[in-house]
Amino acid sequence: MSCAERSSLGLALVLVLLSACGGGGEGRSPGTGTDPDANVLPLSVNGDACGGAGGYLNQPCVRVTVCAPGTDDCRTIDRVLLDTGSFGLRLFRQPLEGLALEQLPAPGGGALASCTRFADLSADWGPVQLADVVLGGEPAVRVPIQVIDATFGPPPGSCPEPETSPEEAGFNGILGVGVFREECGAPCAAIADNGLYFACDGGTCEGTAVPEEDQVQNPVAHLPGDNNGVVVELPAVGAAGAPSVEGRVLLGIGTRPNNAVEGATALPLDRRTATFTTTLEGRALPGSFLDTGSNGLFFPAPEARPIPACPAPVSHWYCPDGFVALTAINTGFGGGPSEDVSFEVGDFRALVGSGNRVLPGLAGGAIVGSGFDWGLPFFLGRRVAVGLDGARSALGEGPYVAW
């Protein structure tokens, strides 16, 4: 075991490691508090942190280290999807094999489990367990995570066909660093029949209310210092795309020199849905959001400038002749401020045919009324701050997005 590997271990060993490895300095030195870049989480799109083949187009990956609470038994897991559209850490059981995380009890007895649903109607199901989570070189934080495990329970009928393996999903887990501190919030604390949280006992799982602090937690909110949000930083990519790119997630907003946000404009978000309004060619699309976890831009084409969909079976992508240039206006919830965003939509078949895996022109249709899903292409060539609900920074109080 090298010093670099050992320095990725949990908080418990930090003092030992400091003496054994001379303080680390590898960019992953949990708990030292002296490294000015301890808040940096390397981010790849189809690159290094994605750990090789098997992923999909425009897939942003980070590495996350999780340890059994209070021990030095840890796993560093790559190909964890960075997702500004969800809240909390969820990891498949398979890469955690043999790691003794601590099962959280449901408030009324039994084991607490969670069913997380996504826009595509897919589901992640599994027990909620305590883990020591290490992000970049930050100190470990002890938070409830979801262990994705379709064999647990069994899952209730309302959690249909949950994902079974990293191979099926295309990733080992999801790091949800969106604007909320926990997976569900007040509705799941108040309502037993919330559809997300279940108490599992004796082979059946029934809905349960769960206090917000026992819900799956966004680990960023628990960091000792850099806890008011994140800044996602990715390089610009030409219209033809690139095989992969490397960027950074900076933990905290304006908490250190490396995550300063001078000159950015903050758009406040709806505190219930984390959305703002996009206006495209005169049509207002409320319910719009920035989402690294979506691998394209998804929006209804303007009525005056229809964009052809691709032929089946990829009709969920746009296939214009060449590139279509558009400009949208994003407006904060409540009426302001507004920011123009220019973007280009490419022909899916030509883009994919190039062999490149990072494609800024990847876009597809959406129904009127669904809002504009500003997926990964939006983040290329930008520094985007995602401000946590109720937390302050130089940009104001969250929830907001800023760039």
């Binding site: 559209g85 069913c115 295309g170 799941c188 919330n194 559809g195 984390a274 691998n295």
Partner: protein, 151 residues
Amino acid sequence: MWELRRALGAALVLTLAAPPARAALGEREESVGRDRRALAAVARGTDERGGYRVHELEKGATTIREFVSADGVVFAVTWSGITHPDLRPLLGAFHDEYRAAARAHRAEGRRARRVAGERVVVESWGHPRDLHGRAYVPALLPSGVTVDELR
């Protein structure tokens, strides 16, 4: 206490093993009540919208709307809330068709999705805490009703 929980668990299993409630989508208006019971949802009233009627149900923190034509057939279902509802009782006879179409075209990534079977269309969008969807049978849409007004 534990015995009581087991007994309740056994009762739940028996309930689930009973024949499923008949479908809402494509069924008569009376099936809305069966859906409500199958989902353990709360009725929130009805809304007359020129040419069709909308039944609103509340399930946890998710709102479900069932659209009924003038001749009393459920032609669409929409939902909105912190999570997706159980689609089996809502799609009923169309659920298998939807599942088969969804499996045939598994899309990568996490984003909005449109699944079209031979008769039924299921669309879903949003992100965790703010999820939405609608299911409809194009052949059952009353004339003059556009898909965009199904909210």
